[in-house]
């Protein structure tokens, strides 16, 4: 598709890349041709720290089905984990 459409999620946390751990403040999310994955289209996520200039990134390219599976599992993990912590 070759679009420039990017969804920017403001996130707070850290990611581990080629030079070790770094703080991140943004996830750039897009659905387009991947660079590496053997897929026609892929859901790409680039975790970066814009406050530090976004010179490094931690990147993933996922099939559409696996991206949806990830979304579901993130919500499940958050729900079960938060419930467990509340019960503790």
């Amino acid at each position: 598709m070759c679009s420039y459409i990017v969804e920017k999620a403001r996130v707070s946390g850290s990611a581990k890349g080629p030079s070790g751990w770094m703080r991140i403040d943004t996830a750039n999310v897009y659905f387009d041709h991947p660079y590496y994955a053997p897929l026609d289209h892929a859901l790409g996520i680039d975790f970066v720290c814009e406050a530090d200039g976004a010179r490094e990134r931690v990147a993933v390219e996922l099939s559409a089905a696996s991206a949806r599976e990830l979304v579901t599992k993130i919500m499940v993990a958050l729900a079960s984990g938060e419930a467990a912590h509340r019960a503790a």
Binding site: M1, C2, S3, Y4, V6, H33, Y35, P38, D40, V48
Partner: protein, 249 residues
């Protein structure tokens, strides 16, 4: 015609606003004058496949160059630089036109230049090729390989970097145009390809379009699952026949 020897290397060139950038340049080493081809890379960036395409043109007797349209966002690997550019909303059309003009000036300044220069672009580079051919009257021939967003149906996609849909510049096109498209592509889809052709026809432009069944976007790209060997082989024949006709001295 093919040549037994080519030379290929990364070189410096002056792009938009005189900015010093890098480009991949390959040419036959035999004595003689050669037409030039500017290879405009796709949105993911100045990657391995694009430089392979540059060498392919050199093998077929062209002095070919691919300017790294994202050089201002380096250093770094092409994929990381491409990610930065994507996150920033892409490159501005004016900047791309300036960089392609710079690459054209580089080719014509070489002692091996026949003076003729064609453009070819893939995916977003196909759009850039169409745009540049309309805006650079010194272009001798242009090949648009499945350029998306030549027609912009959703006007909200126009912005400061890409203020005008290339289709609206078609009146300015002075050189012959070859368009190659996969019928399963979503951008451009078959309807958009038909409307682009209708515009070229209405304005009396010199063009030829070829549409391929069983192919979608990027069907030349040997490094993607979209690669379709049979359609790509035929498409390359069309490209070289077109350049033989229009870039001959």
């Amino acid at each position: 015609m093919s040549y037994a020897s080519v030379a290929a290397e990364t070189i410096g060139f002056r792009g938009h606003n005189g900015d010093q950038g890098e480009a991949y340049y390959a040419r036959p080493t035999g004595a003689g004058k050669y037409p030039g081809v500017i290879v405009i890379h796709h949105l993911p960036g100045w990657d391995e496949w694009i430089v392979e395409v540059v060498r392919k043109f050199a093998h077929h007797g062209y002095a070919a160059i691919s300017p790294h349209l994202y050089f201002r966002d380096g250093p770094g690997s092409p994929d990381d630089i491409g990610a930065r550019v994507r996150a920033a909303g892409g490159v501005a059309d004016d900047q791309v036109v300036g960089d392609v003009k710079g690459a054209m000036a580089f080719l014509r300044a070489q002692s091996n230049s026949s003076g003729k220069v064609g453009l070819i672009g893939f995916c977003s580079g196909g759009r850039h090729a169409y745009l540049c051919a309309c805006r650079i009257p010194e272009t001798d021939a242009v090949v648009d390989c499945w350029g998306g967003n030549v027609i912009v149906d959703d006007k909200s996609q126009l912005n400061a970097k890409r203020p005008i849909a290339p289709i609206d510049l078609t009146e300015q096109l002075r050189c012959p145009l070859l368009g190659l498209f996969g019928n399963d592509d979503e951008n451009p889809n078959a309807d958009q390809v038909n409307r682009t052709e209708a515009t070229l026809k209405r304005l009396g432009k010199n063009y030829e379009f070829h549409r391929y069944d069983g192919a979608g976007h990027a069907f030349f790209n040997t490094m993607r699952v979209a690669y379709r060997p049979e359609q790509a082989a035929d498409g390359w024949k069309k490209v070289f026949a077109f350049y033989r006709k229009h870039l001959a001295a």
